[in-house]
Each structure stands twice: as C-alpha cells, then as structure tokens.
Symmetry: C2
Subunit: 196 residues, 2 copies
DNA sequence: CACAATTTCAATAATGTTATTGATAATCGT
DNA sequence: ACGATTATCAATAACATTATTGAAATTGTG
C-alpha cells in the first residue's frame, strides 16, 4: 500500500529544501551529498532513499525554481489591465518568487547549466516560455501605444528579466530594501527611466 | 637570472585563458585541472609549474575579470560630459569587457563566491568600488538635476550593473545583437524607460 | 501488541581529483 | 654546440565523493 501520508510529503519537501539550500550556497559541484545529508541530520547514504542520483535532485530543485516564475505569469497576460499594471504584477511575481523561494530560484538561475542535456528539456522550455510571455506583453503594449514604438520587445523582455534576476545577487543584504520597494523601483525605472 | 621573455608571458597568458575558459564553461568545482591541461595540450601535473593551486588560478582569473570593469570607470567619473554620456560610456565599457573577455568576466561574476575568504579581499574591494563609483555618478546627476530627485542612487546603480551583467547570460546567441546596439538599448531604457 | 511498511544506518566498492616529486625534454643565450 | 634555464612528463600518494547493499531501527495500523 502506498502511504503518501502528509508526513512523507513533508519529509520529501524537507529533503528538497535541504538540497536547494546546499546547492544554492555551494553550487552543484561544490556541494556534496554529505552536505545535504548533514543538513537533514541523516547519513550520506540514506539520501538515496529520496533520490536516484544527485543529478535528479538538481533537476527537481530547478523545476520548483522555474515554476515559481511561470506560475502566475499566464494570468497576468490574460488580465485586462494597463501595461504598467501588467509589468508591475510581473515584477512583483518575479521578486515574490525570489523572496519566498530564494534557494530554489538561485539554483535554477545559476546551476541549471550543470544538468546533462537530457534533463534540461522541461526546465529550458519553461524558462523560454517565461521570457516569451513577457515579450508578448510588451508587444501588445507597443501595439496599444503604451510603450515606445522604438522599443524592441525581445531586448526589453530580456532586460526586464535580467533586471529582476539580478536582485538575487544582493537581496537580503539590506533589510530596508523590501520586495515591495524594489519592485516599485524596477517598475518605475523600466517604464519611465531615471532621467529627469 | 629571471628570463621573463615575451614568450613566457605569452604562455602565462595562454594558461590564464585556458583556466578562464574552463571555469566559465564548467564552473570552478565542475572543472578539473585536467580539463585546463587538456586545453593547453599538456598533462595535468604540468600545470603546477604555472600555479600553486587551483584556487590561485581562480583568484587570478577573477582579478582579470573585475579589473576589466574598473579600469575605465575612473576616467568616466572625472570626465566633464553630460550624465547621459557618462552612463553611455559606463555601459559601453561594461559591455566591452563582456565582449572582449567574456570568460574572465563570467568567472568573476559567477565563480568568485567559491574563493576562500582570504582570497576574496581585493576582488571584493574592487567590485564594491565599482558599484560605488556608479552610485556617485548618479548622485551627481541627481544634484545637477539630470535625473529624477526621486531616484535612489544606490538602487539605481545596482540595477544598472545588474542589467549590464545580465547580458552575459545571452550575449552571443544572436549575432544581430551587437555590443553597440545592446549598449544603446540599455542606456536608453535606463534613462528614458520604455514607456510612451 | 504484532505485523508490515517506511526510514535510516554501516560498510564499502568504484571512481575521480589535487598536488607532489624527481626525471627528462626543449629552448635560449653566448 | 654547450651549459643553463625553462617547460613538461610519468608516476603516484592522499584524499573525497557517489552510489550500492543488506541489515537494523522506527513508525503506523489493525
């Protein structure tokens, strides 16, 4: 009989959290399975009850990381609000994922390259689609005259995503800089720029 | 007698290039000294004629990477041109370093965290100063009324640097996207935004 | 409680990696 | 061409890491 009691799921979750934390802190290759085990208070070999291989663990962590991004973006495109509001929501969702699941997001951003090609498929597809959706949002904004006609939607989308991703490099250093504050700042800069 | 013939320097340079390329491609821990040796066409043990340890190699690569950034930024602050021009030059210098020394820059950006604390000192100091100089440029621009008074120079500096750094993630994928084009795009977006 | 399922352990095989060393080959200046 | 300097090699010690296995402990259930 399959158990799948809430307890088992909780433990599985703890395991993924530990893997994400260790991968984020040390990088995939810099992290050892022993590090993950130590964080869970179990022995290195015991981990293999939860995964088949270290690679599989990385894949799972990356998937959680990227899904945090993609989750809400669909609804945002569909919603009937101004372009500014769409961008504000996109940024908020992006930064929100960073705040609530920093380890997963950081691992997705920085460690997915270490997955062998045959494990990269879905992760790559999801992240490509994410940028594509943002590009589409910008394109529609250009059509509706809400953004400059000279704006290249592709480049602008890459810039917006890069801008949000870069927050991961320093978020948390200064407690004054809340997600809300940073989000407003990025949204404003993206739409109006810093020029007087 | 110390030789220091041009040849020796050239070889030293080749060695650093190889280390940078391998670290950039596989990450510090994912890269083996054997990988670096293979790229140079020599045996793994022979590398230790050029460095004392893998860590030292990483430190040297990171230093070259960060110096590419800091090099020109000083002159830009001093120069007597408009804020827009200062920012345009800053972005151009940043992206230029990315284009001409991508491997070194990528290693500095993504791998410096794997240096032990006692090797991080100078690298950290240089990169802090880099952001500080940009912050100062923006502050002076705020004082001169060239940028919005509501702009937070610190956040804006972090954003500008993050934006430029994020180009490393995709630069080179599309040959149509030249450094000049990307630079103009970023400068425009940073100052005027994409809004109509 | 007793039984079955779940979770962890101890021990270890197989492999890979860094760094050292003394010998050897290649190169340079005279 | 010769001796000295520079560069590379072969071999290996020491160590770390992943993954496997069968046993043991723990937990949940009737």
């Amino acid at each position: 009989m399959k158990r799948e009691s809430g307890k088992a799921k909780r433990r599985q979750h703890e395991f993924l959290d530990a893997a994400a934390a260790v991968f984020a802190a040390k990088g995939y290759h810099g992290a050892t399975t022993g590090d993950i085990a130590a964080r869970l208070g179990i022995k290195q070999g015991s981990l293999y009850y939860y995964f088949r291989s270290k690679e599989e663990a990385l894949e799972q962590v990356c998937l959680v990381g990227v899904k945090g991004f993609v989750q809400t973006i669909e609804d945002i495109t569909a919603s009937d609000v101004s372009l500014r509001e769409k961008i504000a929501r996109t940024v908020a969702a992006h930064l929100g994922a960073l705040a609530t699941r920093k380890d997963y997001v950081v691992v997705f951003l920085d460690q997915r390259q270490h997955l062998p090609p045959d494990r990269r498929g879905e992760i790559l597809a999801q992240s490509r689609r994410y940028v594509q959706v943002i590009e589409d949002i910008l394109k529609s904004g250009r059509d509706s005259g809400e953004i400059k006609s000279s704006t290249d939607p592709r480049l602008a989308a890459l810039n917006l995503v890069g801008l949000c991703n870069s927050v991961a490099d320093w978020y948390g250093h200064d407690p004054k800089l809340t997600i809300e504050l940073i989000g407003k700042n990025i949204t404003n800069m993206f739409i109006e720029g810093v020029g007087a």
